[in-house]
């Protein structure tokens, strides 16, 4: 039987699967399964959407786990390699990530005025990307894709005030 996949609700089973996968990953690389790393995986899986590294650190402290910034920074490349997280651009400052394990892939559409973020999923992009990669003989491993624009609300607001 397979865990139901619901969009919104944080999925306990998923989080456990992620933890399990990370343990296997660590084992395969002969790295150690530590309390702090487990806590980091757990905190990551509990995040909704994309997050800043420092948000993650604060979250961990709120949970009573004191993981230093340095340790979190050291752990993230591992989670990345294990496929649990995915870097996002979101054209601001500071790297951001989002949980990747058990989530469908999506890209972002961002309002350059109010910073609203909309996720979209569009299979055609993936196909074209693979095609481009193939044409140059590349084996595609990941991508960054982010569209910047002006959202409907900001456009409306512009429309009313505008016309200097």
């Amino acid at each position: 039987m397979r865990p139901s996949r619901n969009k919104q609700r944080p999925d306990k089973g998923l989080s456990l699967q992620a933890a399990e996968r990370f343990r296997s990953f660590l084992h395969a690389k002969e790295l150690r399964v530590t309390e702090v790393r487990e806590a980091i995986v757990s905190a990551v899986m509990a995040q909704e959407g994309h997050f800043h590294v420092d948000e993650l650190v604060r979250d961990l402290q709120r949970r009573g786990v004191l993981a230093s910034r340095a340790t979190v920074y050291r752990a993230l490349p591992l989670l990345l390699e294990a496929g649990l997280i995915q870097p996002t651009v979101l054209s601001g400052k500071g790297h951001r990530y989002e949980a990747a394990f058990g989530h469908d892939h999506h890209d972002h559409l961002i309002c350059g005025e109010c910073n609203k973020v909309v996720e979209f999923q569009f299979e055609a992009f993936e196909m074209l990307q693979r095609e481009v990669a193939a044409r140059y003989g590349f084996e595609l491993t990941s991508h960054f894709h982010e569209l910047i624009g002006v959202c409907p609300e900001c456009r409306a607001r512009r429309g009313t005030h505008a016309s200097h």
Copy 2:
């Protein structure tokens, strides 16, 4: 997808056009045309491909123009708004830009192992992007798009060493 033309040869006329366009831009915004800003435009147009901000600063100094880092950082958003440059991601650290004026738009395909960068141009992406934006009521202004993979050479190198 078509190869970009005139990759190598710096185009004097283009550079002059760019300078002219920037002057108009400054005038329209009631900003001043200064020696340093002109030098920055000129240096930008002379860059090949993408560049780091500090590379630009060093270039300027090499040309005998002393533009401080602060000034260059202050000028870049203007060049951006004037459409002379374009930010690129190139998933490393530090912002990078590339000259946009007179160049066809393109995105990047990057080898995650040797960092080779290949430019590609594929009209279909632009169309789909406009379509996605329209679907969400956004007015599209720009985008970041970067494919990460393993280039043919690195794949070959892999193949000889290890059996996957």
